[in-house]
């Protein structure tokens, strides 16, 4: 059958089926529908809010500080005091045994550790070495902290089973205390708790930080651990991106180089990655000279070092007294001190004032050995059960044509362990 034009037109007109509700259902949430408009408005509000928040956090110091308030840099507790366990009490208050110490041969320290040959450049040299070792550009104080001589930079890894990071610590020391700047990547290393109410929020430059003044400790004779706000310990922790920092100051008001909260924050805020070393001065504390080389440079004299020392005892620091021109080399946290003084300026040239003195020979030289009468120390001056130390110390003195030498061994500093007269003489004869 042939179709007319009109019939064909009608067939074409009727070709598509009627539109079904499926299309409207499918587009029921399309952007132009009321539902779509509402959703778009909600998304716009979220987007704009996120954008503004990101701008606030990214562009303003307050924002960055706010963003980091969700972190807690210190482990905190609300308890200001808690009892010691019996094990801790026993450990703390039982006197250490006074076992005999054994001597071992040691190599005298090089003039400067590991190739830093100029005492004046000790800081830069040691920092550069550490940066190579840990493959990290360390952030440092822009200038030397006033009154704080640099002593050393160290790195620590595996400080606990749960902490895999590396801690790098730059240390400064005076006779009045210590100042250390630690840094690392990732999480803060585990640390003792602090009292939550003692944590103050501070701004370190553009970053949020936390400041704590005080610490937990055991008062003399106490069996409780108590928070003390006057513990002469101030700490600031903050983070700059992935890197954490901790600045710790152990020093009390009135002591040499004391830094208060404001000064510490200022010190932390002015840190840089590449300090200008041209204007850097290296202050030296005569009571805590860090290296043999620097001490030699200061005193203009030779300094003898022992080649025999009690096991596990190492150089602590060197002290120079310009008035008597005497050099004191301290080992083992001050328990063993070797004092070297020119004969013509020595104040002490004999031990005659001691009660029990005997003549001895140190090599070819004549000498004296004595023991001081027992003295009370802070450890046994409080009410029981304070640490019952009988603080005697042993002295060996001998002379050459030009020098007077003394070796002091103080048991109380060593917390156990004793050296005999013969061992002191052996140490004296090992001086090179």
């Amino acid at each position: 059958m042939k179709l007319t034009e009109s019939q064909m037109a009608t067939m074409l007109e009727n070709l598509p089926p009627a539109i079904r509700p499926r299309l409207d259902r499918r587009l029921s949430s399309a952007p132009w529908t009321p539902r779509g408009v509402k959703r778009r408005q909600t998304l716009t509000v979220i987007y704009v809010t996120t954008l503004l928040l990101a701008a606030f956090i990214g562009l303003t110091p307050q924002g960055r500080a706010f963003a980091q308030t969700i972190f807690k840099f210190f482990r905190t507790t609300d308890q200001s005091s808690f009892p010691l366990s019996q094990e801790d009490i026993d450990s703390l208050y039982t006197p250490a045994p006074t076992q005999a110490l054994s001597l071992v041969s040691v190599t005298p320290l090089p003039l400067l550790p590991n190739g830093c040959d100029d005492p004046e450049d000790l800081y830069e040299c040691e920092i550069q070495k550490m940066e190579k070792q840990v493959n990290m550009d360390l952030k440092e104080f822009s200038t030397s902290p006033s009154g704080w001589p640099f002593t050393k930079v160290e790195s620590f890894t595996g400080i606990s089973s749960g902490y895999k990071g590396t801690v790098i610590t730059i240390s400064y020391q005076t006779s009045g205390g210590g100042l250390s700047l630690s840094q690392g990547l990732g999480d803060f290393p585990p640390d003792q708790q602090v009292l939550s109410s003692a944590v103050e929020r501070v701004n370190i430059g553009d970053y949020y930080g936390e400041y704590v003044d005080g610490g937990f400790g055991v008062g003399n004779g106490n069996i409780d651990v108590t928070w003390s706000a006057v513990a002469a310990e101030q700490r600031i922790r903050w983070k700059e991106g992935e890197r954490w920092f901790e600045l710790t100051a152990f020093s009390g008001p009135g002591t040499s180089g004391y830094l208060d909260k404001k000064a510490l924050i200022s010190l932390a805020s002015d840190m840089v990655f590449q300090p200008d070393s041209s204007g850097r001065t290296t202050p030296v504390d005569m009571d805590t000279i860090p290296t043999i080389a620097l001490a030699k440079r200061i005193c203009g004299c030779d300094i003898l070092q022992p080649t025999k020392l009690p096991e596990n005892m190492s150089l602590d620091h060197i002290k120079y007294d310009p008035q008597w021109k005497s050099i004191t080399v301290s080992y083992g946290y001050n328990s063993l001190r070797i004092i070297q003084t020119p004969h013509d300026s020595a104040m002490i040239t004999s031990l005659d004032t001691y009660q029990d003195v005997e003549a001895v020979r140190v090599g070819e030289a004549e000498g004296q050995y004595g023991e001081s009468p027992a003295q009370k120390t802070i450890w046994d001056s409080a009410t029981p059960p304070a640490f019952p130390v009988s603080n005697t110390y042993r002295v060996l003195l001998w002379k050459t044509d030009t020098m007077v030498y003394q070796i002091y061994f103080d048991q109380s500093f060593n917390w156990g362990g004793q050296l005999t007269k013969e061992q002191l003489i052996e140490i004296a004869e090992s001086l090179r």
Binding site: M8, L15, A30, W32
Partner: protein, 185 residues
Amino acid sequence: MNILQRFRQTAISAPTAFSEMYERNRVAVFRYIYSLMGGPADDAEDLTAETFIRAWKARHAFEGNVDSAIGWLLRIAKRVVIDNHRRNSVRRTSALQSDLKSETTTEEEFLRIQQGEELLNLLKDLPTEHREILILRYVLDWKVNQIATHVGLSENHVSVIIHRTLTNLRKQWTSSSVGKSHETH
């Protein structure tokens, strides 16, 4: 589209205006797509939805008023159909048969389905431009002058194309199996 165009106000940029345009043109767009692609209805509805979504995204570039939006929409729809054709070059099912349930189909309905399917096949064999003009004329019931404006040809040229295409289509229909079958009824 540059960043400034994104904020340009047009006759359909507001959701309410666009919604009105959708209501006014959705059937025409669906019929156009269905005829152009040859069904099935499900696919034609999907492409209709896609056409309006694309139109929404491009609404700030639209020139004209709501009344003239259909031409713009059909250009988008044609692009959508071409894109879809490239994606699915093989038809899976017969267009019309998939739109009706066979168990409820009467003999008369079955014949109508066959006729429709044959007509779609014949349309598919036409040159694209001729097919589109025929669809615009008879499926969407456009006037010749509207078609001429839309495809950019003279009215006379469009009239000639319509006449020749329709004549050709009628001849093919007569010689097709469905046409012959229809003749026997």
